[in-house]
């Protein structure tokens, strides 16, 4: 195997440490120079070398490309991956070109054999869109010099007028939702311990002589308080000199001091 070029190309993935400059939830963002991507960089290098895009001096360009990547101190993780893919592609093309042609395939058309062809096609395709981007840039710059009338206050702009029944419904639902939360929080704050409940009930029985259980339970705001009140009533009857009186079946139960 012939080795026409003495230089060797190494690409040490461990040496090229990537730095994370900005980290957000889904993107690691660092800019690589002014290049929008590996194809952009490649085009730049080809132009810098004043090379013909249809006959890229692949060894020189690959060298330049790798040198450029090494120069970059801050690498965007996501972009860097794309740049490295291109580096690998270049090296692959270069090694293919170094290999002697398969003598059995010599009859094949030369152009089809050129390992650079696919890359050239991609570069040409990309460059069209790069020019289109330039055109868009010019258009938007021009357009920024034109001003249309500012919006006038029509019903559309006036939020007070433009509300529909559905808007009202939406707002209402929101209020209801918020209210539900508020109520929940209130209950939490007013939660009373069993000891306090017993103390409170005992005080009321001592003061009034008797307490209607029905009225007492109705004062409770939540299921939890109700349960606490019920247990408190049981406790009072068990520990204190209080008896339960019921005037008729299924009627109200009265706690009465003995």
């Amino acid at each position: 195997m012939s080795q026409p070029e003495p230089e060797t190309y190494t690409f040490d993935f461990y040496k090229e440490t990537a730095e994370i400059v900005a980290e957000s939830s889904d993107e690691l963002r660092i800019k690589i120079g002014e290049f929008a991507g590996p194809l952009d960089l490649l085009l730049f290098l080809i132009r810098q070398e004043q090379a013909n895009i249809f006959d890229i001096p692949i060894a020189r360009i690959t060298d330049e490309y790798l040198r450029f990547i090494r120069l970059m101190k801050t690498l965007d993780i996501a972009v860097a991956a794309d740049f490295l893919v291109m580096a690998a592609t270049l090296i692959e093309i270069k090694s293919k070109m170094l290999l002697p042609r398969d003598p059995n395939a010599a009859t094949e058309a030369d152009e089809l054999d050129d390992p650079r062809q696919e890359l050239v096609d991609r570069l040409l395709e990309y460059e069209k869109y790069k020019s289109a981007a330039q055109m868009l840039y010019e258009k938007t710059t021009l357009e920024q010099a034109v001003f249309s009338r500012g919006k006038i206050e029509s019903d559309d702009e006036n939020a007070e007028v433009s509300a529909t029944v559905f808007d009202l419904l939406t707002v209402f639902q929101k209020i209801v939702a918020r209210r539900a939360e508020e109520i929940k929080m209130e209950i939490h704050r007013e939660e009373i311990s069993l000891a306090d409940m017993i103390k409170d009930l005992r005080r009321r029985i001592l003061e009034a002589g008797e307490v209607s259980l029905l009225a007492f339970f109705e004062e409770m705001h939540s299921r939890r308080e109700l349960v606490t009140a019920f247990i408190a009533a049981l406790e009072i009857v068990r520990t204190e000199t209080v008896k339960l009186v019921q005037k008729k079946t299924f009627g109200d139960v009265i706690l009465r001091k003995v």
Partner: protein, 191 residues
């Protein structure tokens, strides 16, 4: 001005306006419209046929042109719009105290170019042309409402397809997508 329109509408079913009247009322409508107003909408509102509306707008446009007005009547995003002339952008900007809005990055512009010409197009297809991940550029373009999702492609993974929006036409001063030069035209520039 709205009175004039109402009066005109009350004249229905068959309004009889001469051209100068029609030009005047068309001017009023283009002036109040929030978005570029189409010839069809003008014709519908005025109960005129489309040709008459078309002729009126064209007449109006030429009148602005002829008297070298500070305003221009122009077609944008498929509709008519009254806008200031580019020559006066410095003065207008000084008065409005605005600066040219933040420009799109190179990556975003490239991505937008690919989407504009290849729409509807998927993220992998954009990657193929640009040779670089375009996720953040696409997010920027979506945030600026220059592109919109155009359904999913019926292929492996059903990727989302993107296309340009009406805002794109407005912000780039385009009548419609056909006003974009053909992508093949850029080929000559390349070689």
């Amino acid at each position: 001005m709205s009175e004039a329109v109402e009066e005109a509408l009350e004249d229905a079913p068959k309004p009889t306006r001469d051209l100068s009247e029609l030009v005047a009322v068309v001017e009023a409508l283009i002036f109040v419209a929030d978005e570029p107003i189409t010839t069809k909408l003008l014709a519908d509102v005025l109960d005129e046929d489309k040709q008459a509306a078309e002729a009126a707008v064209e007449q109006l446009r030429q009148e602005y042109e002829a008297r070298e007005s500070g305003l221009q009547i122009r077609v944008i995003a498929g509709g008519w719009q009254i806008a200031t002339r580019t020559e006066f952008h410095e003065e207008v900007r000084k008065f409005l105290r605005t600066r040219p809005s933040a420009k799109l990055s190179l990556a975003a512009l490239e991505t937008l170019a690919v989407i504009a010409y290849k729409q509807p197009v998927t993220v992998p297809e954009i990657l193929e042309i640009r040779g670089v991940q375009s996720a953040s550029a696409i997010k920027t373009l979506l945030d600026k409402r220059l592109i919109v999702a155009k359904g999913r492609k019926e292929t492996v993974g059903r990727p989302m397809q993107y296309g340009t929006s009406k805002d794109f036409l407005i912000q780039f001063g385009l009548k419609d997508l056909t006003e974009l030069p053909s992508i093949e035209d850029f080929e000559d520039l390349v070689s």
